[in-house]
């Protein structure tokens, strides 16, 4: 009990943060370009499923992650067609996309393996989990670095400038002869790829199979982190780490028998901790600033 915040807690937090972090980065990219992305959850499902299917087929974890990244881009472009070119209401289209992805996943696993609950166990992962840990370490390092990269792209490069203009002042972009729709499409595709990679970490790195409903609302948590962070990549990453830290703390508190002077805290209360923390954080930060001016608006 005296060493809750130890090295293991840190590692546990990092693992739990990994899918959130990547997905939140996808959310930042998309929303800064002016497109609301409720579909993050569905994109994570796409990634988790694709990753697992490819690992079952090839036995290679890196290939599974790469395939998920690619599939996420494709799924993102489908979403982009609806919301940018079809001018669908973004929140509604995003919610519909989530339902589609969650509904199609059992259909795919049923068609491929005759199981509607998920994919078979990924034997490749259990057989060589040593190399799996190394891959996990690299991907985690990459994910921790990603907020800095995204920040640099957004604030210091021409593409980032165009992307921000698509979200803040698309008219100016148009008068400069650049189509804000194309810029937004690129952002949505990138966002899909990142969110799907986040989802794939769940099925390929953090466990060893795809199970129905395994994303469990993480896409929405990532979105909450993005909004709470005022659409700033580094702040969003911090928020994700805090969420994950609380979740890891929850796991460790649950394991300890003599929590708080011999009084056992009910499981339900402990498990509500991350959500409670989110609520407190949001309440402390009412009046969110820095909203992209054209967020959710057609161009």
């Amino acid at each position: 009990m005296n060493n809750i915040f130890d090295f293991e807690w840190l590692m546990s937090s990092l693992r739990l943060a990994l899918p959130l972090l990547l997905t939140a980065m996808g959310g930042v990219v998309c929303e800064r370009s002016g497109v609301v992305n409720i579909a993050l959850e569905g994109l994570m499902v796409v990634g988790a499923l694709t990753g697992a299917v490819i690992v079952v087929a090839t036995g290679s974890q890196p290939l599974g992650l790469a395939a998920a990244f690619f599939a996420g881009g494709v799924a993102g472009s489908i979403y982009a067609i609806f919301v940018i070119h079809g001018r669908a209401q973004q929140v509604v289209a995003g919610a519909a996309f989530n339902m589609l992805a969650i509904g199609v996943a059992p259909f795919v696993t049923k068609a491929l393996y005759g199981i509607s609950g998920g994919t078979p166990a990924l034997d490749a992962i259990s057989e060589n989990h040593d190399s799996g840990w190394i891959l996990l370490a690299w991907v985690t390092a990459g994910a921790l670095l990603s907020p800095f990269v995204i920040w640099w792209i957004l604030e210091r490069t021409r593409s980032g400038l165009l992307l921000r203009f698509a979200g803040e002042e698309p008219g100016a972009l148009e008068s400069a002869g650049i189509s804000p729709r194309i810029v937004r499409t690129c952002a949505v595709v990138a966002s899909g790829a990142l969110a799907a990679l986040g989802g794939a970490t769940l099925s390929v790195l953090l466990s060893s199979s795809f199970a129905r409903g395994m994303t469990g609302g993480r896409g929405f948590m990532a979105l909450a982190a993005v909004i709470f962070a005022g659409w700033r990549p580094m702040t969003a990453a911090m928020v994700c780490l805090v969420f994950a830290g609380a979740d890891a703390l929850q796991i460790r508190l649950q394991g300890s028998e003599h929590a708080l002077m011999g009084i056992e805290i009910p499981v339900q209360l402990i498990q509500a901790l991350p959500y409670l923390l989110t609520l407190i954080a949001v309440a402390l930060r009412s009046g969110v600033t820095n909203v992209p001016r054209y967020l959710g608006r057609d161009v």
Partner: protein
């Protein structure tokens, strides 16, 4: 052709024809419909197979644990008894009742619902179809036409606790449950009692994956819980968390420590690291019930399965015979005898006095 169809279907055809004539102007299609409808019963009349419908719980037919055990029973019945079987996998709580009702309405000879969460739906449908037969796993229904298949999960968990404590070198063993519901608390109780039966000063810890239905499908979370327990000195974990079980097995692989599986034989999922699996012979119960329907011996009411009648057991195969040593096996067999003849009493979470007297 129509002459050979059973009487009730003739009635149905006549009523339907009237309805069709009222509602549809496309009357010229009616002969075709009647023809198709007429052919199906002929095929069935030549081969009087009984028809069985199964509604699986949310984990899905192939969860390699709870539902999978029922699935094996159904497959066995198809093979040995030659019954005609159909199944539906419920996607959420709202799917149970329509699925059960559809089987009942199609006059299936037996409809089986797998899992305690289907109890209310089953009771409602069974009341609407009093002349049809139903079976329900893990819960009691008040309807006389429902057979409730009940299992002594606490006895199996007791065996798991005993096996875990005999294997443990740290005297500390863990339990990971799926959703925090009474059924899984029953597992936890039995497990803790079993560990303490072997060693008085046994340390037991228990975690739950969650408090929502997602808990059964959240391997990453189960893995984190298991890693946390292993890091805290636990060296054997008993897991009852449906499709999340695999997360615990992953953690066992990463830490080279032991886990115990649930409901189906999961020993092969991490050979050598899964100490044993507690078998819940839903397959045997399902098979028995189907056989009873076929031979006309079906009765409603409770049917209990436990260690005494082989409904609960532990798995031994080539994957775990190296780790589940002869001493442990001998002790487990002795415990099975003692539980069967009542000399060892396993505390049951479902019994209020047991719950009140039990110390964590």
């Amino acid at each position: 052709m129509i002459g050979s169809t059973p009487v009730y279907q003739m009635d149905a055809i006549r009523v339907s024809l009237q309805l069709i004539q009222l509602r549809f102007p496309l009357r010229h299609l009616i002969p075709a419909v009647v023809l198709l409808w007429g052919i199906t019963p002929i095929a069935m009349a030549n081969n009087p197979k009984i028809r069985v419908g199964v509604v699986f719980d949310k984990g899905g037919r192939d969860d390699r644990s709870f539902n999978a055990s029922a699935w094996r029973g159904l497959e066995e019945a198809k093979r040995q008894l030659g019954v005609d079987a159909k199944y539906v996998e419920a996607m959420d709580d709202n799917a149970y009742e329509p699925a059960i009702r559809t089987f009942a309405r199609k006059k299936f000879d037996l409809t089986i619902a797998i899992g305690f969460s289907q109890a209310e739906s089953m009771t409602r449908v069974a009341a609407d179809f009093p002349n049809q037969r139903f079976a329900l796993v893990d819960a009691v229904s008040s309807q006389p036409n429902v057979r409730s298949l009940l299992f002594g999960d606490h006895e199996g968990a007791f065996l798991a606790g005993a096996a875990a404590m005999m294997k443990s070198t740290t005297s500390k063993v863990g339990f990971i449950g799926g959703m925090d519901v009474p059924l899984i608390r029953r597992f936890e109780f039995g497990f803790r009692a079993g560990a303490r039966h072997v060693r008085k000063d046994a340390l037991t810890v228990a975690n739950f994956v969650g408090i929502t239905v997602d808990s059964w499908n959240n391997p990453p979370k189960a893995k984190e819980l298991a890693l946390s327990q292993y890091n805290g000195g636990v060296d054997v974990i008993y897991v009852a968390a449906g499709a999340s079980n695999i997360g615990v097995f992953d953690a066992a692989g990463a830490k080279s420590k032991f886990a115990i599986g649930t409901d189906s034989n999961q020993n092969g999922m991490r050979p050598g690291l899964i100490l044993t699996s507690i078998l819940k012979r839903i397959d045997a119960a399902v098979f028995q019930t189907i056989a009873d329907v076929q031979t006309g011996k079906f009765t409603g009411g409770k049917m209990e399965f436990g260690v005494a009648n082989g409904g609960i057991d532990y798995a031994l195969d080539r994957h775990n015979e190296g780790v589940l040593t002869a001493d442990i096996r001998a002790k487990l067999e002795e415990l099975k005898r003692q539980i069967s003849n009542g000399s060892v009493k396993v505390p049951d979470y479902y019994v209020e006095t047991d719950r009140a007297n039990f110390k964590k």
